[in-house]
Symmetry: D2
Subunit: 357 residues, 4 copies
């Protein structure tokens, strides 16, 4: 099969780099265009970005010339789908423009996440929400978003517990500095410190979590109706958001019931064997003091950092407690978006432009 032609918008930022890393050698998508802001345009990719997400820039992209972030460039280059790693402000109008031009947009920005017809898709969790795009105003294009990085971990901790009657969630985060972008956190603010505030993050977690776990009903999402309370803080960790979760369930479950629910959890990306899908979406740690960001992100092995890690599952006075760990720039950003595109392809929503013509 011919691969679809993909473009990464905002390829020089950190999430942009993760897109490039993950799309290198992708079986379905061929990354043929990288865009960035003015000062990078015309440069080789290797000279436009300070690569930090792995040892080396994948060879095939080193000398690719960075172009403008403009819809006409996408059309010119017959791009079949777009991954967006732009800042929200810039992305808002542009994504609509691109979708209007008939190009599907898989976006990591929050610009359109709260629109009633834009799905916040996590194919293991709410695959049916993808149908929302059929209600969008565009002819051929559409916009699919992935969730905020801390939300992307939390929903994996909650979804398997919904059959037990989830009625209250208190979540508290320990978030890595990479979540704020390449230069988002100054070292003077975080060395040996914890900053108990991340702008908008708590509201995002509370709203997105209920939306993702909500029901698609008559063409719109009815948010899940449990209570949820989020507290977010930044810690001096490079990658990996750790979250402490306390849930109140209707059923009187045992710790083993919870472990079992996590370990047996699986979704369509697994049954469809999508390229970026982890074999086991939730990995349960048995050790007393895990998961830890430094040790358990495990990009090694088969999961590319897409599995969510859970541990310290314990029951106390009627509530269930656990810690979870999510790779914020992979499962929480670029990897999530690529998986969404893979799922859309599997569901028949993506086609080569040449076939369209």
């Amino acid at each position: 099969m011919t691969r679809l032609k993909a473009c990464v918008l905002g390829a020089t930022g950190m999430v942009g780099q993760q897109f490039v890393r993950i799309l290198a050698g992708h079986p379905d998508f061929e990354l043929v265009l990288l865009t960035a802001s003015e000062r990078s345009v015309g440069l080789q990719y290797q000279n436009s970005t300070d690569w930090v997400v792995s040892n080396k820039i994948p060879k095939e992209f080193k000398e690719m010339i960075v172009t403008n972030t403009q819809t006409e460039k996408l059309v010119e280059n017959e791009i079949d789908l777009v991954f967006c790693a732009l800042p929200s402000g810039i992305a808002e109008e542009l994504e609509i423009d691109i979708a209007t031009a008939g190009i599907p947009v898989f976006s990591n920005t929050s610009a359109h996440r709260m629109k009633p017809d834009v799905p916040i898709l996590i194919p293991e969790i709410n695959p049916d929400h993808l149908k929302l795009i059929e209600t969008q105003q565009f002819t051929d294009g559409f916009i699919v978003t992935n969730s905020n990085c801390s939300t992307s971990g939390l929903v994996f901790g909650l979804k398997p517990l919904m059959p037990f009657g989830l009625n209250d969630v208190v979540v508290t985060t320990y978030q890595a500095v990479s979540g704020a972008g390449r230069n988002g956190v100054a070292s003077m603010d975080i060395l040996g410190n914890v900053v108990p505030f991340i702008p908008d993050e708590e509201a995002k977690m509370e709203v997105e979590t209920r939306a993702i776990l909500g029901k698609l009903d008559d063409g719109s999402i009815r948010p899940a109706d449990f209570r949820i309370n989020a507290s977010c803080a930044r810690v001096p960790v490079m990658n990996g958001h750790l979250e402490s979760v306390v849930v109140q369930l209707d059923d009187d479950v045992s710790t083993d019931d919870v472990i079992d629910a996590f370990e047996t959890f699986s979704g369509e990306p697994q049954s469809l064997n999508l390229p970026t899908a982890p074999k086991t979406p939730i990995v349960v740690h048995q050790e007393a003091d895990r998961p830890q960001p430094l040790r358990d992100l495990s990009i090694e092995g088969g999961d590319l950092g897409m599995a969510v890690k859970v541990g310290r599952i314990r029951k106390k006075d009627g509530r269930v407690n656990f810690f979870l760990l999510v790779h914020n720039t992979i499962r929480g950003a670029a990897g999530a978006s690529v998986l969404n595109a893979e799922y859309a392809l599997a569901k028949g929503y993506l086609n080569p432009r040449t076939e369209v013509i």
Copy 2:
């Protein structure tokens, strides 16, 4: 007035050092004896300890000879009161032995905290609990403990809210490495990492908090009856435990009500003007991103690190959220114990041994 003769048991550890620092020049207590384990006995204090709690060892203690940790040494030296910074295992029998010998013990260990006749005293919070010592088996001596370090902060966040009908508490901690002692956390475990487990800490917080906020009734403590759920983690911070607190109150209070309750909170140590008491036991931060361990422990100024800092007070969906910060080796350990002794002195429970004879 003649100062009472004090001894620090376990003076070479980190909490022991804090005792020495705080007792230097104390108006009521004269620190005349320092004890430590065998290998330090006979050495000058400055050669027996790797001083880390401030710039320099107070001059008067530099050349003091360290002695054995034995009750007879205390009797020989006519010690009037003892501050205990020993490990729990060693402290258990010894503290009973010392109290039996007629010497009051102010202990930072958890050895006897859970005994029904031993108060976990925080004079701003539960001053009446001190009366429990009258039910102890000893003739002249007694044992008073202070709480676990993370508990010592939490109760300041909860006590002022009790009039509003406290019925549920979820607390999540970001704890400093100094809480584990001088060599308690290896750098390989915590550099760039978070460890979501501290042995026994969660149970301690849950049990001690309810005990401290409980009622002394007919000679015993009836624990407060709200629900409480604690999750504890270690972060790469040197000093200062940060805690995220979510409470459910019976009353429908506003954020301003909560701020007001914190700011107007005061206790007996303040009205008695005790030497180690902070003027304002709870300091409310108005900035969006405070308190932070690196910036707000403030040993500078008048409070010696004894004030608890509170910030990000917000109301969400019927619950009140806030972050609090406590200096774990001062308000959470040595400073707490010294304040307890000051309060016991003010209440007439401490007398010079020479008067006893």
Copy 3:
């Protein structure tokens, strides 16, 4: 005596904050004007800066209104002397303009440091260089600079050794993130890392050190003629530049000779008892593993962070090795500049403008 009216240019940056902290309650200089860039103009100082250099903004400056950085503002306000904490680019023309207007400038910027008639003054080291200002083009004003932060420590390690015949210096630095300014180092670059490059730093150390230790001869500086080789790296430390120094001396000195040279070193700021001068400009550490940035910067006590700490003095195969530690934003920046002004005042170079008229 009436205090001279002082202004801090660029008062909202980190060095600007240190100026404000050090000048609070200064016996000779009354800080009456704070300037900053456009977006801060018209705001209260406390609302224009994210204060990080101590617990709290000194009370008297909290509500001072920040003004434009313009020479006419200085004239209007009858400013007697100016401390400059601006970026070099902005400072270059402005400092000349201010000095031309008759106002002495004590500058922390590198803008004019390399001019033949501008002294890089460290009053303990090269007090006679102050005379250079008499050769400047200005009528009443003049420009005095202090050295680069890492140089300010090194010269204290070298000056006392010059009588032994200093002929070669190899210095290697471990520099704190605060040296790059408030947002100069992104956390993603330095958490758990060392960055072996600081733009222009090595050349500055090599050139400035020889200039400061050079001779004023016939109205110009003849640089000292030893070899010097600097290697500079950034480490994840908040404050305090540590430097490893290896020197080759002509004389065959013992370790004790070196210790003695350091301990007995003293200068005019000490004999004049200048307000910001440390009693002991060089503090020698005897412990095997000191000085350390975390433990030995010691703003506590009498020295305000102005003393340079030296330790691990050892002799190996004909060379002398030692480590030194300097507080980069105090002795290496704001404190250095204030001491320069105090020295200029003592030498009769500063006068109230009202007297001038």
Copy 4:
């Protein structure tokens, strides 16, 4: 070919773990025995060690039962060669005992490094030194050591420059905490700090470097005769020793000459294509601010962390400066030892015991 039976002594420590990781699936050596101290004996390997060197313990070793560290166990199990990761004190007699029993020892300890008949072997640097073992007192066994971790990097920076006439070396280190072992550095000592002292490290670097770069002459090593001066400090970095090197050469070389010497450097492990040998022993970084421990250790890719990284090569006033980076527990410890064994095998010094009999 049948693989030789190997044993790791002290397999539960961090260097022991690296041995296990590197030997997993090794083409020449089959790791069949793991030893540790008493408290681990009889346990499965996975229950005896807190694995930190990668994501997971290689499957084949998880359930291997840990045995005593005793020579008779080695003989019983027909071990063909031993890798020693024990503490020096324990290793001293034991290694002699094992070699006496006819078993070759590849040791990471310093116990016998300074013996005149024990080579400190780095096959790219001093392959001929292996011959020294022929002068050892043992019949079939022998002892080969690898160098101290910081030395193992330095010699790669110096060897290619020897043809230019190396006459003086000043080296200053930024060493990772893992170099001190699993619990060697307490977090309270290194968070936000630099410790300018590592016991014995400077002397080891100075002596070992000259020995390794010395000549084997008439059955003994004549140390290289350049001057060398080492200063060592610990920094808050997990893995990777960074070193600043300043060398004085006889020849007047250009920066390009030096780069060329590094890039073209290759040794016998490369020509023999030994399994653990990096393709390029020295990797030259062109970027202004590299190599960095966080970014350039690169266990990814083909080199397993065995290549030494060099950067910021510059010439100043007749001297050559550069920074180098070495993975301290791989090229500086376990990997070095495994490569030594591979080289000894290639040179015919290793034979299966069954053939011996």
